[in-house]
Subunit: 118 residues, 2 copies
DNA sequence: AACCTATATATCGGCATGCTATACATAGAC
DNA sequence: GTCTATGTATAGCATGCCGATATATAGGTT
C-alpha cells in the first residue's frame, strides 16, 4: 500500500523458498539464518524473529526441515537441517519462482519498466 | 504449502504490480484485464474474479487507478485507467520487485538451483 | 419464447501468512 | 552488577487472496 512497505508485501509467499535455500546451503540455527539472509541481501531482506520462528516451526511440521537442540556448548541453540523432502520442495518452488518472475519481467518489459537484467 | 498451490502463494504481494502494469499499457475493464494477464502469461497467472475486483476497488481507493462506467454500448462495463500517482507507484514497485527478485536469484544461485536467466 | 453460454461485476466468509509487541533466558563485555 | 548482543518463542492483529455465490446482460440456438 505505502511504498515503503511494499517490499514486505512482496516477500509474502517466497519466504519459505528463501529459508529453505539458505538451509540447503548449510545447516544452521534460527538467529544465524536471519543474519545470513540479511547479509546476503545487503540488508534488503530482514526477517523479524516473529516471522522467522513461526516459519521454521511450520516448515518443521511439514517435515521439510528437522531440528535438534544443542545445549552443551555455549548458548543453547536449535539447529535446523533440510530434509530430503525439503530439497525436493525447494527445487520445485525454485522452478515456479523462476517461471513466475519471468512472467512478471515480461509484463514489466511490455510497459517499458524493466531495467537491465543482472 | 502444497506444491500445486505454491505459485498462488508466490503471487501474493505482486498482484498490484501486475494489474498496474497492465493498466499502464492501456485502459481497459476488469474482465479484459483478467484475460490479458492470462494470455500474457500463457495461462500461468489466472486472477480469479474474487481476487481481481476487490483488488481493483482497493487500487481505486488509493487513487492509483480511476474508473468510469460505460453503459451505453453493449454490455455495461467499468473501465479503469491508471492515474499519474499510479504510474509513480508502479515505477517504484517495479524497482523494488527487481531488486527483490535479484536477491532471490542470488540466493538460489548460491545453492546451485538457479537455471538460465531468460 | 425459452434456454443456454459467455461476458461482466460484486461481495462474503474463510484461510494463510507475516509482523509488532512482548516475554524470557544466556553469555560476554565493561 | 549491569548492559548489550544473542537466542528462541508466542499471542494478537492486519492484510490479502480465493472459492463460492449472486446478479445481470447480450447473443445464439431451438
Amino acid at each position: 500500500m505505502m511504498i515503503e512497505n511494499f517490499q514486505r508485501e512482496l516477500m509474502r509467499g517466497s519466504l519459505d523458498l528463501i529459508v529453505l535455500s539458505v538451509l540447503a546451503d548449510r545447516s544452521q540455527y534460527g538467529y544465524s539464518i536471519q543474519k545470513q539472509i540479511r547479509d546476503a541481501s545487503a540488508d534488503q531482506v530482514k526477517l523479524p524473529a516473529g516471522t522467522l520462528y513461526p516459519l521454521l516451526h511450520r516448515l518443521e511440521d511439514e517435515r521439510l526441515i528437522r531440528s535438534r537442540w544443542e545445549k552443551s556448548t555455549g548458548r543453547p541453540r536449535k539447529w535446523y537441517e533440510i530434509t530430503a523432502s525439503g530439497r525436493k520442495q525447494l527445487s520445485a518452488q525454485a522452478k515456479q519462482w523462476q517461471s513466475y518472475s519471468q512472467c512478471v519481467e515480461r509484463l514489466l518489459t511490455m510497459v517499458g519498466l524493466r531495467t537491465e537484467t543482472a
